[in-house]
Amino acid sequence: AQSVTQLDSHVSVSEGTPVLLRCNYSSSYSPSLFWYVQHPNKGLQLLLKYTSAATLVKGINGFEAEFKKSETSFHLTKPSAHMSDAAEYFCVVIPGGGGNKLTFGTGTQLKVEL
């Protein structure tokens, strides 16, 4: 069985400060991992994906995520938050060993304050 846990339902940061959104996964095999972002009244946009090529993954809009197998984590970071980063963020997993079904975390609402 595979699942994904987002540890914080809400995160609030000040503009210009770092962002950390936490995600832990469980998978019997080497998984594919993704972060998606959903802005209000918009669809989901793929931020980045882990595909086993490199443990540090760079995505769009300055976001990064690091795959740590020993910690079964895939936390999303950004050095400096911008107001436009305010959105819902979903950590998503596909188990390795075949299959294409996405399993979504419960989401983290990021608030960016002036």
Binding site: F34, G43, Q45, L46, K49, T51, T106
Partner: protein, 115 residues
């Protein structure tokens, strides 16, 4: 990445009626997916739709309630039948990116409110 459009973008419907949601992709894709996002919740997969075969439904979803069509490689419809207020959700379609890592690309969603 594929460009995906959905119609309608939103609708308000009366209970007991049905609504058909359309999903159009700008390129041919093998697999299309339909998700439901209930208010304040994450996404739940309803079914997977392959062209030329019946859709595969996830546990808790049935064809009578959510019939799906997939007439060609660029189009699919999802019908929400005999609606009740509990069906009020955002319905999203997505497509398989067809890369080696199975990422999916999502449409903008259809926001459904059932009164």
């Amino acid at each position: 990445s594929a460009v995906i459009s959905q119609k309608p973008s939103r609708d308000i419907c009366q209970r007991g009626t049905s609504l058909t949601i359309q999903c159009q992709v700008d390129s041919q894709v093998t697999m299309m997916f339909w998700y439901r996002q209930q208010p304040g919740q994450s996404l739940t997969l309803i079914a997977t739709a392959n062209q030329g075969s019946e859709a595969t439904y996830e546990s808790g979803f049935v064809i009578d309630k959510f019939p799906i069509s997939r007439p060609n490689l660029t189009f699919s419809t999802l019908t929400v039948s005999n609606m009740s207020p509990e069906d009020s959700s955002i319905y999203l379609c997505s497509v398989d990116g067809q890369g080696p890592y199975n990422e999916q690309f999502f449409g903008p969603g259809t926001r459904l409110t059932v009164l």
